[in-house]
């Protein structure tokens, strides 16, 4: 353990020439957090005895799933091993690791001059890493390629070094080899960061401009905003202005993380740190926005700011209707820390009171739902996720549809649906299976490249609606788990889409309405009514189950009336047993939802809404 370096430059008084701002791009499980831990130790900011694995991942769910959702920045002093009197400041900016947070990733990247591309030496690069790598290259970051886990017996450093060199156009010999677990090679990596990553460049005399790359709600301190100063200087106790909204706030605290928050006098050009203004909601401190001084502030914001835009919607309903206020409170709390989470109350005839919730993507949906269930103890029914449709009526008016049951009935001129560019990386033996899957999901092939002899990158344009439900599960099952997927929204396309309604005993069940391509409507209708016929118990009367497009019925099944529901014998010894059975049945009845006059068990809703088509393969998400 090297001692803490002497002459460590202080925040607000650090020469930009000594600053290196970098991030780590890596796939889940490729060892990013372990590497970060090792860097914290080697630079002495966290003592050995305080170490706990994956120091930077704070939320339990994240730690359990091995993913990082919210980024943080840590200021690391490092004197290069060949020049130990010249202490540099390394700001390590942790990036979100998943597909749904592309915009946040792009802002984290924009705060850096370089990035470490960290790849598991036993697995090679994955689609999401590749997507982020392309983002980094577009941002002109200096890339430091690193293979991790070289101590593993299954490691193939030669092969994957070749793959990385091929991707970024360097020599395979330039690919560093480390073991974050044992610490092997990490010092050399820190030296390489000092050597290769350019120092930040900015105008110290210009009005202050700092970019927000993360914004986190803390229940004790309010919103903590992470910034990278580009020009000028931000000082403690001055008033600042958010350039997208013009809102001003007093700077209650400014500082850096090492890794705990440490207040300072200010932050200068090229520096990375945090701001606390007392706001309580991350939507008042948005990722990508520019912070400037209120007095003599900048006129032009830094480029690249975007409002977060929900791409996927789902209705969330409490299983027990009386939990509705708890669900509202839980969503309110989550929103404090998640500017991308949007929701509004919604009433379903079938499911009662709930919320229509918008998400950035599928993982975002999963994480929110899991947090609601785990941290807030709620039992939820979630409707099948859907995308946003733009419907042009014949009279030229435009309707935005976020809930399939609200798809307009009248004369439609055109319907637009969002499309994405999907990138799939997989061993070459699965090319056929992947292309077949993408074709059935209305995909069109954009191109295909070999990363190495036996690994291929396939690019498709796909309607987002086709991948929001079970695409990832299908992809995994058809490639024995080897394929990885990334996608990014690329716009919209006009498609022949129709709404399929499901009717129970003549009553529309709003929760089951779906928008599908007209060629798939029939199959969807047939599958759903068959499934419902199995799941809904026989009633005292015959119940037709129909799928319909408008008034046209495309599929029909009948749940025959129950004709016998009586125990033949009821004598002296049967009475206690029968009364107890009745009590149990009454409990079961409480778990039924009435749809018109039909009793539908909650299990039927859950089964229909949560699983796919009974192809019997992958069940549930990731």
């Amino acid at each position: 353990m090297p001692a803490i370096p002497s002459h460590v430059p202080e925040p607000s008084r650090t020469d930009p020439a000594l600053i290196r701002n970098f991030c780590i791009i890596a796939h889940i499980d490729h060892g990013k957090s372990t590497l970060a831990d090792r860097m914290l130790q080697l630079t002495g900011v966290v003592e050995q005895r305080q170490m706990r694995a994956q120091y930077l991942d704070r939320m339990d769910i994240e730690r359990e799933r091995g993913i990082t959702i919210k980024s943080q920045a840590v200021r690391l002093p490092w004197a290069p091993t060949h020049d130990d009197s010249n202490t540099h400041i390394l700001n390590m900016i942790d990036t979100p690791g998943h597909v749904d947070f592309t915009y946040e990733v792009s802002r984290s990247l924009a705060a850096c001059e370089g990035c470490i591309l960290l790849v598991d030496a036993a697995q090679g690069i994955e689609a999401q890493t590749l997507a982020n790598l392309y983002l980094a290259m577009e941002n002109d970051l200096t890339i430091i390629p690193v293979l991790n886990k070289i101590d593993l017996p299954a490691a193939q450093p030669e092969k994957f070094a070749g793959e990385l060199a091929n991707l970024i156009g360097c020599d395979p010999a330039d690919v560093l080899r480390v073991s974050a677990k044992t610490g092997l090679g990490v010092e050399a990596l820190l030296d390489r960061v000092v050597e290769r990553v350019p120092a930040p460049v900015g105008n110290a005399d210009a009005p202050a401009r700092a970019m927000i790359f993360d914004s986190v709600y803390d229940s004790y301190r309010g919103v903590v905003t992470y910034v990278r100063v580009v020009d000028g200087q931000l000082n403690k106790r001055e008033r600042i202005r958010m350039m997208s909204t013009g809102a001003t706030h007093e700077l209650l605290e400014i500082g850096t993380n090492s890794p705990e928050m440490l207040s300072s006098d200010g932050l200068g050009v090229g520096e990375v740190g945090y701001l606390i203004t007392g706001v309580k909601d991350v939507r008042q401190s948005k990722v990508g926005d520019t912070v400037t001084s209120q007095h003599k502030g900048a006129d032009d914001a830094l480029g690249g700011y975007k409002e977060p835009k929900p791409m996927v919607f789902s209705g969330l309903y409490p299983l027990d209707g009386s939990d509705y206020p708890e669900l509202r409170e839980a969503l309110d709390k989550l929103q404090l820390n998640d500017a991308a989470l949007v929701y509004e109350p919604e009433t379903s005839a079938a499911l009662g009171f709930g919320f229509r919730v918008g998400f950035l993507g599928l993982l975002h949906l999963d994480v929110i739902r899991e947090r609601l269930e785990r941290e807030f103890g709620l039992d939820l029914i979630a409707t099948a996720p859907n995308v946003v449709y733009r419907v042009i009526m014949e009279d030229g008016t435009e309707v935005t549809v976020t809930n399939p049951s609200e798809f307009p009935e009248g004369k439609l001129d055109e319907v637009f649906e969002p499309v994405v560019r999907a990138t799939i990386l997989a061993p070459t033996e699965f090319i056929g299976a992947i292309m077949e899957l993408c074709q059935t999901r209305r995909g069109s092939l954009l191109g295909m490249d070999y990363l190495s002899e036996d690994r291929v990158e396939i690019r498709y344009t796909l309607p987002l609606a086709e991948i929001v439900f079970d695409f990832f599960d299908q992809l995994k099952s058809k490639t024995r788990g080897y394929a990885s997927l990334d996608y990014e929204p690329t716009g919209e396309q006009s498609s022949s889409l129709v709404k399929v309604d499901i009717l129970l005993h003549g009553d529309k069940v709003d929760a089951f309405s779906a928008i599908t391509h007209k060629d798939q409507a029939y199959a969807y209708g047939v599958r759903l009514v068959a499934k419902l016929r199995e799941l809904i118990p026989r009633q005292n009367f015959e119940v037709p189950v129909q799928a319909a497009i408008g008034s046209r019925v495309i599929a029909r099944e009948t749940i025959r009336a129950i004709r016998k529901d009586v125990l033949a014998k009821c004598y002296g010894g049967d009475i206690s047993r029968k009364r107890k059975l009745l009590e149990k049945q009454k409990e079961g009845k409480k778990r039924m939802k009435m749809v018109g006059s039909v009793e539908v068990p909650q299990e039927a809703f859950i089964a229909v809404l949560s699983s796919d088509d009974g192809s019997g393969t992958a069940k549930g998400k990731k």
């Binding site: 005292n540 009367f541 025959r560 129950i562 004709r563 016998k564 529901d565 009586v566 125990l567 033949a568 014998k569 009821c570 004598y571 002296g572 010894g573 009475i575 206690s576 047993r577 029968k578 009364r579 107890k580 009745l582 049945q585 009454k586 009845k589």
Partner: protein, 410 residues
């Protein structure tokens, strides 16, 4: 394997009842059920508390013996006398069931009846029934019962078809139950019942019609017809699970029930409970009516259930444990429950709705009343009875009685 007993509170060693159970007893009829837990062989569908000689061997020794069983039952009749104290009631009905009561000598059955007469007195018009297996009785046996005071007999006919009897493991030959009816009439029995089972795997609609024809031809004044229930833990359940015989089907049961109703009513029988038909009011089984109208009865014998004034209790199941308790002068009660007012209301709804007369509407709460109106509109309740303030089932309603009960108790 016999079915499990419910969970309950312990029964005091002397069997004493709370004072509340005996309050107002004089206004309620009192009956006796006597359980005989023996069978020659166990039928594949049966989960009653009964034992074959080989099942008892080694487990009960002398205590569980058939030879001393009448004496043991008599002990419980004497215990009942003590527990009921100075209750002045005479016994209105006695019903001997099993098991196979007729595996005991007729004299044993008569002896226990004698004990009841001695301890409580029998009402002048008391109904005294025994169940009987067609293969285990003959004219002499029947005559002895009749002389000893029995006036009603119930034969387990089940079916007139050999292949159906075989699936049920019944050992009598087709035709024998009909002979039994004639023999019982000759011996002077005023009331004769035939038990039938429908919906046995392999039984056709025509088989069922043939069974009803044969039963009606024998001239009983009462018929009970039960859908075959496949009870967990029985041999039949295992055979169905293994695919050796097909599962019974509720829709088939519904069809068979309608056939029974049609043929029995054409022959002059009226239903008075979901599974019971009689040629006249006098032909109804008054003992079973005690169960359905919340009256009091003492059930003696292993596993037997009793009810007195809102207390239900049940005896230990095994004949050896039962005999041991009585031999030591303890109550054989294994557990009991004290019904709350709401329990008793729910029981009234679930029991009385099965009767032709139905349930008084004023027993229902607002939600139950609303449900009754819906059931009326759905054709499950009879309009005439409803006008008179009663929820009483239609023919279709009888087949859905449990569903109607679930709604009406709300």
């Amino acid at each position: 394997m016999p079915s499990a007993l419910p969970d309950g509170d312990p029964v005091p060693a002397d069997g004493a009842l709370p004072a509340s159970a005996l309050a107002g007893a004089a206004d309620r009829p009192l009956g006796f059920y006597l359980h005989v837990p023996y069978c020659a062989t166990r039928c594949g569908y049966c989960d009653f508390n009964t034992y074959t000689a080989s099942e008892l061997r080694g487990t009960g020794g002398v205590l569980a013996s058939r030879d001393t069983y009448a004496a043991t039952l008599t002990d419980e009749v004497r215990l009942a006398r003590k527990v009921l104290g100075d209750d002045p009631r005479e016994v209105r009905t006695v019903f001997v069931g099993g098991g196979t009561p007729t595996l005991l000598p007729a004299a044993d059955l008569v002896r226990v009846l004698g004990a009841i007469r001695e301890e409580f007195g029998l009402a002048a018009d008391a109904e005294v029934t025994t169940e009987a297996n067609p293969e285990s009785v003959g004219p002499a046996y029947l005559a002895e019962l009749r002389e000893g005071g029995f006036d009603r007999i119930s034969f387990g006919m089940q079916s007139a078809r050999r292949h159906v009897l075989k699936v049920l493991d019944r050992t009598h030959t087709p035709g024998r139950p009909e002979q039994c009816v004639a023999e019982a009439r000759a011996a002077g029995f005023a009331h004769v019942n035939l038990d039938l089972i429908y919906g046995t795997p392999g039984e056709s609609d025509d088989d069922w019609r043939a069974s009803l024809d044969a039963a009606l031809g024998a001239g009983p004044d009462h018929v009970s017809a039960y859908a075959l229930i496949v009870e967990e833990g029985t041999r039949l359940a295992r055979r169905i699970r293994r695919g050796e015989v097909p599962m019974t089907d509720d829709d088939v049961h519904a069809d068979r029930y309608l056939i029974a109703e049609e043929m029995l009513s054409a022959a002059g029988f009226d239903w008075y409970e979901v599974s019971n038909w009689a040629t006249s009011e006098a032909g109804r089984c008054r003992h079973n009516e005690l169960y359905w109208t919340g009256a009091d009865w003492w059930g003696a014998g292993p596993g037997a259930h009793s009810h007195v004034g809102g207390v239900r209790w049940w005896n230990v199941k095994h004949p050896a444990a039962y005999a041991a308790a009585l031999a030591e002068g303890r109550s054989p009660g294994a557990g009991r429950e004290l019904l709350t007012g709401e329990d008793r209301r729910v029981e009234r709804v679930l029991l009385e709705l099965r009767l032709r007369e139905g349930v008084p509407l004023d027993l229902l709460r607002p939600d139950g009343l609303a449900a009754a109106r819906r059931a009326l509109a759905d054709g499950l309740l009879r309009g005439g009875a409803y006008e008179e303030g009663r929820a009483a089932l239609t023919l279709r309603g009888r087949l859905l009685a449990d569903a109607v009960v679930r709604d009406l108790v709300d």
